[in-house]
Amino acid sequence: MNALISTALSGVVMMFAGLFVSNKQRIKYIAIVVVLACLVANLAELSTIEAGDRTLYGMITVSRFSILFNAIALGATLIFFLLSGSAFENVGEHVADYFALVFFILSGITLASTFSSLLMLFLAIEIISIPQYILAGSDKKTPKSSEASLKYFLMGSFSTGILLMGITLIYGATGTFNVADLGLGAGKVNTLALCGIILVAFALSFKVSAAPFHFWTPDVYDGSPTVFTSFMATVVKAGGFIAFIRIFHGAFIGERISADWQLLLAIITAATLIIGNFTAVFQQSVKRMLAYSSIAQAGFMLLAVVSVNTYATQGIVLYAAAYSIATIGIFAVMIKLKDYTFDGFNGLARTQPVLAVTTAIFVCSLAGIPLTAGFFAKYFVLTAAVKQGNLLWLVIVAVICAAISAYYYFRVIIAMYFKQGEAETAPITGGFKVMLIITAAIVILLGIFPGLLLQLI
Amino acid sequence: MNIDWFFILEKIVLISGVLVISLVVAMYSTWGERKVASIIQDRIGPNRAGFMGLLQPLADGGKLFFKEEIIPGSSNRFLFILGPSLAMIVACMTSAVIPWGDTLTIAGHSISLQIADINIGILYIFGVVSLGVYGIMLGGWASNNKYSLLASVRAASQIISYELAMGLSLIALLMMTGTLSIKEIVEQQRHGGWNVLYQPLGFVIFLVCSFAECNRTPFDLSEAESELNGGYHLEYSSMKLGFYLFAEYINMFISSALMSSLYFGGYSFPFMDSLGLAPNLVTILGTAALFIKIICFLFFFMWVRWTIPRFRYDQLMRLGWNYMIPLALANMLVTGAIVLYRSTH
């Protein structure tokens, strides 16, 4: 609740900050302060829900879980601002507006983590999506950027239509939008509801770029300004997943109905994993590789959606945190580079050792190497899927894909450490290095003691 | 199936009547306009065709039929024809929810002098009127003429800009009346006072916006002869041009009717219920009253046209956005507060 209000207001604040503050540096500082304030406001609510979840007009439900997730989203955004906030200036004139849009996306994410009505789910998804269309096209001079934006917009609004149809069919079958009252589990499976669920699954797969609905992702992520790709591929994607998992685990659970969509989602998951990982292998640009890897990572997060148990919910939180932080870190480094191909990273270890070490840590985290947060993230989603019992084939697919993912992730390390070259970078400030080190430290800390995060759930 | 043929017949007669009257009023508005202009400019105006030139509109109308129909070679033929047709159809459709009078009772049948009393009459009008923009846009775009295009774009953005303020100004009225049915609004005024007394500001805003919606001076930027050679219908000839012109006058007629109904009591007139006349007579008198009001408004439209100079485009947009909208909102809030205050105290 607090998070929702504070992020929405922050967006407005940033909009008006752009009108009254002309110094771009100062706008960045304002944004950082504001996101911190949101974080504090969000955590302050923790004490008020001791007695139990708080529901507001049957529309949103605030729980410990949602607050924790929001804290992660806000924290990741804070890191994002600190690391890449200055890159906003390179995109275009309207820096404050970009920050405002980021805040609006955040409010969508907070809504995604708290909705208890399908109406709010729809709103959350849209509030997340629409600012992204703008951010994707914010580099107005580059045709690539505007095309990315158009593609994203067309595909995104199409999937919105699908989502709405799904919601409507579910409504037609049950007569309510309230997630808790859907009651799909009881009795016979309603065909109308099943169609609705499938459509919702498709639409959300679209939003989280799961195969076979992923085709927009690489183009959009590649075309968008890199700094926004960083945000879109991380925090936003996590937001999509939280919506996904909450609706499927919260509403579509029942004796038979779970099995029906589970198989569908399992197939989608397997396809996502395979396509994402195999295509990522062939990319020459790190940015594009990360786009495909985001598809691959989406596959892992889908594992959590497919498996209905507590490990899945814990896993999605941990995964969201681990994946977001690491990817934001890599993007932050990449923005500083002149060349986004793998060759652009050649010899970074010699020219910028701090950047190289931290990037290596982030990459390890994405690959799921132990002692980084990514390992426990993968561990949890795998455990969730194993626990599900009938999904072992999917687990095997997943681990093989994880091994493949090491291939392309480690190409970054190879480029940085083992290849000759002089990676050209923009001037690196000391503050940036310190922030990177802190971020890497968080990744490792979560990798050694995931309990720090888990005990909060 | 039990179909009430009498009802259908009744409606068909009413519809034909309304359409014919609209057209006649539109035609004679052109005559009136020229007469008013001549009076204001101290000249005589049309006086050749018939008494005081009263047959002039008929001659003009007939002439339009026999003029050559030119469709420019580089235009989009389908859209070129669709544009004026749409403008005309829209103009003809708006009259459907205007209550032209109370009910007449003939041979045991009570006949409502309103074509369709739907409970969302105002929304219907807004919906249909906003289609009118398409007529202008299509015509201007299909002509493939720089002046036409510019004029139609101007007209479109002008119309949509003033639609906002128009919509907002009506909300204050709706807060008082609590209904969207125009008939009911009129009936309320029949028993209470005219709404203009309670909503002067709302009325003024609505009036100004009506001017803009009808592309009337001082908001006739889309037809500014001096810069645009005649505006969006520059390439049009024969009856297609006629449709655009007619549509404009019909729109004027309908907005006059609407303003009369919403703010000036529509077909009601003072003491109509206390005179003790036969209901049918009251109804006829009410309709006459409505038309008198409409004619006053039409005259006002013309009066303004020949008195006030045209706005500059930026002035027009600034007026619409920067003044009308906040004013309408303020009016709405004040009205709301007063109404609530009075109902709770």
């Binding site: - | 519809i15 030119i70 009393d117 050679n229 485009y313 609530l340």
Partner: protein
């Protein structure tokens, strides 16, 4: 079906029936007039007549070029604000039942409306003079 009472009570879809009739009438009128003028008028086409009018000078290029971005901006802003205005309607109709609570909620809504309005004003979205 199609009885007076049914048609006059404003809650059924049939109360829209006269509107359909009127639409047919309007279409018929427009169609017939269009056909009439088509057949009545003379047809003597010359290439000069069919050229688009540019105040008498030679026609230059295609007219369908992008117009100033301001017009698009106005259209977009209209869409947004119009939808917000639409929200006032159901509120206005039920305004008395909702009382002061509803009024406060509406005040908040208006505040957001004005916030957006103020923002676009300050951003210069409606500044027509350059």
């Amino acid at each position: 079906m199609f009885t007076d009472t049914e048609l006059l009570s404003a809650t059924t879809p049939f109360s829209y029936f006269p509107i359909v009739l009127q639409l047919i009438a309007a279409l018929g009128f427009v169609g017939i007039t269009m056909l009439a003028t088509h057949f009545l008028g003379p047809k003597r086409k010359t290439s000069d007549k069919l050229a688009t009018f540019e105040s008498g000078i030679e026609q230059k290029g295609n007219a369908r070029q992008p117009v100033a971005i301001k017009y698009f901006l106005t259209a977009i802003l209209f869409v947004l604000f119009d939808v917000e205005v639409i929200f006032f309607y159901p509120y206005a109709v039920n305004f008395k039942e909702l009382g002061w609570d509803g009024f406060m909620a509406m005040l908040l809504f208006v505040a957001f409306f004005m916030g957006g309005f103020f923002y676009i004003l300050k951003k210069g979205a409606l500044k027509w003079e350059d």
